[in-house]
């Protein structure tokens, strides 16, 4: 061993033999022992130095008396019961009141020692100065409370904005049975991309649209408003939905956003033979035609996404609707909803709408309920369903 190593060993030995009194009194934490009912029987110098009390002032006093009034309430309602029930408490945040009335934030650990018969004998309490930590925690707490408040505001704003993007009341068309539902994705602060609209062009001449804007949030909301307003404007004097979609495509291409949408547009016109639907899809799931003698087929001319290609080709498909027929318009939030393993899918949707359902509302509700059941809770994506149905006696 070198001389240096000898010196080091001697030093460590000396530490091992350190005076237990000093170990106790000069520990870098406050250290108290109390009787099981809380009377202080022993206290170290560190605690006395921190608090400015004389040893004699503290002996026989109750530990709880050293706390702030609010801290005493906490002590009696939480600390004391926990100590009794679990024989220990850890990291309790309390304030100790010094002799001069100042407060020291501390973190408290305590153990309750019991004798062989299980009877409480002594409580050992270690206190750590937590002044800086407490300041930091207060900031964290404030930040958390602010975050919660902002989240509430954002949610309310999103919900309000979302409502303005949908028809204010249940759409109604004279001579048709119409129902719709919209459910934003569960647990989201953002405005979803799904929307629908039903509006009149002329007497016996109506338009229903359902769509899904790429993305979410404020930009999606702006785009939804643009799409709705554009379509409402261009359908006047333009009978084919495919042409309206082309016009919308043009508008979206020139709009300063690279966003696009999928859309189904249905033009419902009432003539001498009843209702006729002209249907065009721009990259959107095509509606299902259901009814007493219908095969639950997809209808509508298929086409590409709206707002992507320079010269897309949209097509129309015309269907003469008979009594009891209904068009089921939906977004991919229905067919692509998940149960953890797979997708809801077209087949299941066909099953649901294949059941005998006596009104547009019952179709909408059946689909929505089935999707919620399948997802086992709030859906991950927006879900929108619109049903246009010709009553049996129209």
């Amino acid at each position: 061993m070198t001389q240096h190593e000898f010196a080091r060993e001697a030093f460590l030995d000396a530490l091992l033999d350190d005076d237990p009194e000093k170990l106790y009194d000069r520990a870098p934490c406050g250290y108290l022992s109390t009787s099981p009912d809380g009377r202080i029987v022993k206290v170290n110098q560190t605690f006395l130095t921190w608090t400015g009390y004389e040893r004699d002032e503290l002996l026989r006093r109750s530990f709880v008396e050293l706390l702030t009034p609010g801290g005493r309430l906490y002590h009696e309602t939480h600390y004391a019961p926990m100590l009794r029930l679990q024989a220990a408490v850890r990291e309790l945040a309390l304030d100790v009141v010094r002799a001069d009335g100042q407060r020291i934030p501390v973190l408290v650990n305590a153990n309750l020692e019991v004798d062989d018969a299980g009877e409480p004998v002594v409580v050992r309490i270690a206190l750590f100065d937590a002044t800086e930590r407490r300041g930091y925690e207060r900031e964290l707490l404030r930040a958390r409370q602010q975050a919660e408040a902002s989240e509430r505001q954002a949610r309310e704003l999103a919900q309000t904005l979302q409502r303005t993007l949908l028809p204010p009341k249940e759409p109604a068309i004279p001579g048709l049975d119409v129902a719709a539902t919209f459910q934003p994705a569960g647990d989201t602060l953002e405005i979803g991309g799904d929307f629908y609209d039903v509006f009149q062009v002329a007497e016996g001449d109506w338009v229903a649209i359902i769509g899904d804007v790429c993305g979410k949030g404020v930009e999606a909301a702006i785009l939804t408003a643009l799409i709705r307003d554009t379509l409402r404007a261009v359908v006047v004097g333009m009978h084919e939905p495919s042409k309206a979609l082309s016009a919308l495509n043009e508008v979206l291409l020139h709009h300063e956003t690279d966003r696009f949408c999928t859309l189904v547009m249905v033009r419902m016109q009432h003539g001498p033979e009843g209702w006729t639907a002209a249907i065009s899809s721009g990259g959107h799931p095509r509606p299902l035609l259901i009814g007493p003698d219908r095969n639950r087929d997809e209808v509508g001319g298929p086409g590409p996404l709206v707002g992507v290609l320079d010269a897309p080709e949209f097509r129309d498909e015309r269907v003469a609707l008979r009594a009891g027929d209904a068009l089921v318009l939906f977004t991919d939030g229905v067919t692509e909803s998940r149960d953890g393993a797979g997708f809801y899918g077209d087949a299941r949707l066909r099953d649901v709408v294949g059941r005998p359902l006596e009104s547009a509302r019952s179709v909408v509700d059946a689909v929505f309920q089935d999707v919620v059941t399948y997802s086992g809770g709030p859906t991950r994506d927006d879900v929108a369903v619109v049903v246009l149905r010709v009553p049996e006696k129209s």
Binding site: D37, L73, Y74, E76, P81, Q86, A87, A93, E137
Partner: protein, 275 residues
């Protein structure tokens, strides 16, 4: 909803015995009675429960608007008493549940045989001519205390207790079984507990009542316990040697003996026993 699940109801003791219902106060749950209640199982039908929002109750049944007053807690007691079809009930309420019991007794006095109020206080905040022991500021300080300890007073305490930090499952079990409370609910319950004033209700109690008072209770001082006993017409005041606010945990034998003397006495004709 199922009442048993809603309140984590625990029935024990003699099926045909007189019902004895134990109610816990703010901060913990029915575990507060674990050293006292078993002593009455031989001849009573012991009913333990958690207030909604506390312990193992169904916290989904907690409604911040409804539980903004102690009456809602009293209504819950009445519901338990009526749905279990309990009569001649001995009600033992600790801390805030003492006043909850007083309110429940006023709703269905015919159901109650005796009331035991352990560490009661009808009002915690000082008022003109009345010393409750606290200023309103102190209560806000308690709410801050709850917030500071929100960081996980329940989750942080348990794991090390069993001396088994490498087996967190043990600690988990403890954390879950003792005094578990959602921080927001704890805050709301603290508010309704410590800002209530039920002094006017005391004179209307008709049921023979025992006030069990601890010697050195910083939450409910002796003078407050005497105030309660003075106002309730047919009441008995017993001062325990036990100190603190939870004699049911710190001095279970003395508490049990005082309880037993009162509930097993055939008649209690208003005689005040004081030490």
């Amino acid at each position: 909803m199922d009442l048993h699940q809603r309140h984590h109801l625990r029935l024990s003791g003699r099926r045909d015995g007189q019902p004895m219902m134990f109610a816990h106060g703010f901060g913990c749950d029915q575990n507060m009675w674990r050293h006292v209640a078993p002593a009455f199982e031989d001849d009573f039908r012991v009913v333990l429960f958690d207030h909604v929002g506390a312990g193992n109750s169904d916290s989904s049944a907690y409604d911040f608007d409804r539980y903004a007053s102690l009456s809602a807690y009293a209504e819950d007691i009445v519901r338990i008493v009526t749905e279990l079809d309990l009569h001649d009930v001995v009600f033992v309420g600790h801390s805030v549940s003492a006043m909850i019991g007083v309110l429940a007794e006023r709703m269905v006095p015919e159901r109650f045989a005796k009331l035991v109020l352990v560490g009661p206080s009808p009002r915690y905040i000082d008022d003109e001519g009345y010393v409750g022991g606290f200023a309103e500021q102190d209560i806000h300080e308690l709410l801050d205390s709850l917030d500071s300890n929100y960081l996980g007073w329940s989750a942080a305490m348990a794991p090390t207790i069993m001396g088994n930090p490498d087996r967190p499952a043990l600690g988990q079990e403890l954390t879950e079984s003792f005094c578990r409370t959602d921080p927001d609910i704890a805050r709301a319950f603290a508010r309704v507990t410590f800002l209530s004033d039920n002094r006017a209700d005391l004179a209307l109690v008709r049921t023979p009542t025992l006030v069990l008072q601890c010697s050195n209770d910083v939450i409910a001082p002796v003078a407050v316990g005497r105030f309660v006993a003075d106002r309730i017409p047919d009441s008995t005041f017993v001062l325990l040697d036990a100190t603190g606010h939870c004699p049911n945990l710190s001095a279970p034998e003395e508490t049990t003996a005082a309880l037993a003397a009162f509930v097993r006495a055939a008649e209690t004709e208003g005689a005040s026993i004081a030490r």
